[in-house]
Amino acid sequence: FQDQAEQFFRSGHTNNWAVLVCTSRFWFNYRHVANTLSVYRSVKRLGIPDSHIVLMLADDMACNPRNPKPATVFSHKNMELNVYGDDVEVDYRSYEVTVENFLRVLTGRIPPSTSRSKRLLSDDRSNILIYMTGHGGNGFLKFQDSEEITNVELADAFEQMWQKRRYNELLFIIDTCQGASMYERFYSPNIMALASSQVGEDSLSHQPDLGIGVHLMDRYTFYVLEFLEEIHPASQTNMNDLFQVCPKSLCVSTPGHRTDLFQRDPRSVLITDFFGSVRKVEITTETISLDRDVAGFESKLPKDELATEPLKYAEQLPVAQIIHQKPKQKDWHPPGGFILGLWALIIMVFFKTYGIKHMKHIF
C-alpha cells in the first residue's frame, strides 16, 4: 500500500490548466487555428474541462466567409478530423488576443470585471500547459500582425507566475519559426519547454488541402497530434517520448526542448501530468486504516529519483545559479600596450626636447 501511495503523490500537482494561444489572423493562417484547436481537442479529451482551459484564437476560421466547409476546421487533408467539433469554447476571440491580455491572463492581473472563463485561476499546485503558435522570429512572437511579445517578456511573466505561486510545473510548447529562441530566456524553476524549430530554422506547414485552399496544419503540431491521439488518461507515456516526436526527417526543422529548469527527470513526467487532468481519485470499496507511523516513507524513494527535499516556495532556487543574468561588472582598464606606448612616446618627446644629458640629473 505504501508503494501505491508513493505512486499517488509522485508529482506535486492537484489540478491542471491549459492556456492555448493562436496569435495569427487572416484566412491564410488557417493552420495556426487548426494547431491550437487540435491541442485543445486533445487536452479536453484527456480530461481538462473548459473551465480550466483558456483558449485564445485570433481569428475565426470556422465561420470565415472564405471557408468552403463552414463550421469546420480540419487538421488533415482528407477531412478526417474536424477539430472544431460541437463544444469548442473560445475564451479570447479575435481582437481580444493581444500581448497585454495574454500577459494579464498569465500573471493574473485582470480587471475585476473579467468573466471567470477568461481567467487563469491556477494555484501553487497547478500544472499548466501553455501552447503558442503563430508567426515568430528570433526572440519574438507576432500577435495579430501588429505587435510582438519578446522572449524576455515571456520569461518575466513566468517569473511573476512563480513568485505569485501560480503554478507547480509549467510545460511550454511553441510552434513557430525559430521557436527555440522563445524559451532561451526562461529563468524560473519548474519549466519545461518544447519548440518546433531551432533559432535560424523555419517551422514548415504540413500539407495544403486543395478543396479548402490553405495549409491545414503545421508539421510539428500535426505529429504531436498524432502522438497525442494514442494517449488515454491512464497512459504511462512520459516526456522523453514527446521529445522524440517529429524528428528532422519528418519535420524538416529540428525540434528542441529545454529541461534544465525542471526539477524532475523528464523520464518520470507523464504526458498526462500536463495534457490531461488525471484526478488522483481512486475509489475503493473497503476501508483502509492509515498507519500513524509514516516515518519510513521517505526512505522508500526509488534510487533514480532525486533524493532532495520537495521544493517549497520559502526556499526558492537560487536563480543566479540557473541562468547567467548580467555578467559581473568588471571595471574597464586601458590595455597595457596602450599605456606603454603612450608613456614611451611622452618620454621620447621629453628627451628629444631636452636632450639626454638631463638623464643624469634624474638618476
Binding site: Q329, P334, K352
Partner: protein, 435 residues
C-alpha cells in the same frame, strides 16, 4: 614677475573653488553656451560608465571625446575639479611664458628694422618700448584666468579647457622655436578638435621667420623646411591616431569624433551659427551646406597667410578667433582663448574704431543669452528666433572685433613704413581704408 603671476593663479583658483562649492555649479554646467555635445562633462561621465559596463562608449551618439580623454579621465575622474583647475593654470602659465618670449622677439625685430632704417621718421610715438611691454604677459595670464567665460567653462568642467591647454602649449612651443614640440602639440590639438589644422600655416610662417628662411615659393630651403615640419606634424598625428586605436581596439572613435565634428548631426542650440540653419533646412540640401560651412572655417587661412606673412603671431591670433567663431560647436571657452591674446595688441588701441560698440555688444549679448533661453524654453513667450538673433549678434560682434583688430594692425604697419601723416597727391590728409 613670478610673484604677481602666482598671486593671480591663487585668486583664480580660489574663485573657481568657491564656485564649485556653490549651487551655481550645477546651473552653469547645464548652460548650452558653456557645454556643447562635444565637450560636456555629463557625456564624459556617461562614456566612462558605458565602458565600465562593457559597452564601447562610441556605440551611441552620446560620447564624442577622443580616446586620450578617456584614458586621462579614467584615472582622474574623482579629481575632476582639480584637473580642470590645473589645466586652466597650465594654460595661463603657458600663455604667460609664450608672450614673454614673443615680446623679446618683437623687440628684437623692431630694433633690427629701426637700424635698417625701414621706418618713417615721424613714427616715434608708435614704437614700442620694453617699459610698456613689461606687464603684457601678466595681463594675458590674468585675462585668461579671470575671464568670466573661462571661469564658467571651468566650473562646468567642459573639456574645452583641455583643448585650450593644448593650443596654449602649441603656441608656447612655436614661439620658443622648437619645431618638433610645436608639431607634436599641433597634432594633439588637431586630434582633439580637428580645426587647429589651420594653425599649421601661422606656425610654419613663424618658424620660417625664426630660422631666417625667406618665404619665396622658389626657394629650396623654404620647401625643405616646410616638408620637414609637415612630415613631423603628419607623423605625430598618425602616431597619436594609431595609439588611440589601441585603447579600445577599434576605429569607432573616428566617425564618432571627426565625423561628428564635420557632419554636425546634433542641432542643440549653442552660440554658433550652425544649429539654426541646419534645423530648418531640407534634407537634400544639408550635405551641400555642411560642406560650405566647414569650408568657411578653413577658407581664410590662405588669404590671411598671404597678407600676414610677416606677422605670424597676429595671424595665429586671428586664426584662433576664426576657429572659435566658425567652428561647428563653439562654446564660450573657445572665445576666452582668443580674448586672452587681446592685451598683446593693446598698443593698437588708438587705431581701433568700433571698440566701444563691440565691447558693449559682446557684454550685452552674453547677458542676454540666458535671458532669452529662459524665455524660449521655460516661459514659452519667445521662440528660437530670439535666441538665434542673439547668437547672430554675438558672432557679428566677434567678427567685427577681429576685423577691427586686423584693420588696426595693418594700419599701424602702414604708418610705420609710410609715416603718420599721410597726404594725398593734392596735399590733403588721407585716410586709410580696409578694402
Amino acid at each position: 614677475m613670478a610673484a604677481p603671476l602666482v598671486l593671480a593663479v591663487l585668486v583664480a583658483v580660489t574663485v573657481r573653488a568657491v564656485l564649485y562649492r556653490s549651487s551655481l555649479a550645477a546651473f552653469i554646467s547645464e548652460r548650452v553656451e558653456v557645454a556643447s555635445p562635444l565637450n560636456a562633462w555629463k557625456r564624459v561621465v556617461e562614456g566612462l560608465a558605458l565602458l565600465d559596463l562593457g559597452v564601447s562608449p562610441y556605440s551611441g551618439a552620446i560620447f564624442h571625446e577622443t580616446p586620450l580623454i578617456i584614458y586621462l579621465f579614467h584615472f582622474l575622474i574623482e579629481y575632476a575639479e582639480l584637473v580642470f583647475m590645473i589645466t586652466d593654470v597650465l594654460t595661463a602659465v603657458a600663455l604667460y611664458l609664450a608672450i614673454q618670449d614673443f615680446n623679446k622677439v618683437v623687440f628684437k625685430k623692431q630694433k633690427l628694422l629701426i637700424e635698417l632704417d625701414k621706418y618713417a621718421p615721424d613714427v616715434a610715438e608708435l614704437i614700442r618700448t620694453p617699459m610698456e611691454m613689461h606687464y603684457i604677459p601678466l595681463k594675458v595670464a590674468l585675462f585668461y584666468l579671470l575671464n568670466p567665460y573661462t571661469v564658467m567653462s571651468c566650473v562646468a568642467k567642459s573639456t574645452c579647457a583641455i583643448n585650450n591647454t593644448v593650443i596654449a602649449f602649441f603656441v608656447l612651443a612655436t614661439i620658443k622655436g622648437s619645431a618638433f614640440l610645436s608639431a607634436v602639440f599641433l597634432a594633439l590639438a588637431t586630434y582633439q578638435s580637428l580645426y587647429p589644422l589651420t594653425l599649421f600655416a601661422p606656425a610654419l610662417l613663424y618658424l620660417l621667420q625664426r630660422q631666417f628662411i625667406p618665404i619665396k615659393l622658389k626657394s629650396k630651403s623654404f620647401w625643405l623646411y616646410t616638408m620637414q615640419y609637415a612630415a613631423l606634424y603628419l607623423c605625430s598625428l598618425v602616431v597619436i591616431i594609431c595609439l588611440s586605436f589601441f585603447l579600445l581596439n577599434s576605429w569607432d572613435f573616428i566617425p564618432s569624433v571627426y565625423g561628428f565634428i564635420l557632419s554636425v548631426p546634433d542641432l542643440t542650440p549653442n552660440i554658433g551659427l550652425f544649429w539654426y540653419f541646419f534645423a530648418e533646412m531640407f534634407e537634400h540640401f544639408s550635405l551641400f551646406f555642411v560642406c560650405v560651412f566647414q569650408i568657411n572655417v578653413f577658407f581664410y587661412t590662405i588669404p590671411l597667410a598671404i597678407k600676414l606673412k610677416e606677422h605670424p603671431v597676429f595671424f595665429m591670433f586671428v586664426q584662433i578667433a576664426i576657429i572659435s567663431i566658425f567652428k561647428s560647436y563653439p562654446t564660450v571657452g573657445d572665445v576666452a582663448l582668443y580674448m586672452a591674446f587681446l592685451p598683446v595688441w593693446s598698443h593698437l588701441y588708438r587705431f581701433l574704431r568700433n571698440i566701444f560698440i563691440l565691447s558693449c555688444v559682446l557684454i550685452v549679448c552674453s547677458l542676454l543669452f540666458p535671458v532669452l533661453w529662459h524665455l524660449w524654453i521655460y516661459a514659452g513667450s519667445a521662440n528660437s528666433n530670439f535666441y538665434y538673433a542673439i547668437t547672430l549678434t554675438f558672432n557679428i560682434g566677434q567678427i567685427l572685433l577681429i576685423s577691427d583688430y586686423f584693420y588696426a594692425f595693418l594700419r599701424r604697419e602702414y604708418y610705420l613704413t609710410h609715416g603718420l601723416h599721410l597726404t594725398r597727391q593734392d596735399g590733403t590728409e588721407a585716410m586709410l581704408v580696409l578694402k
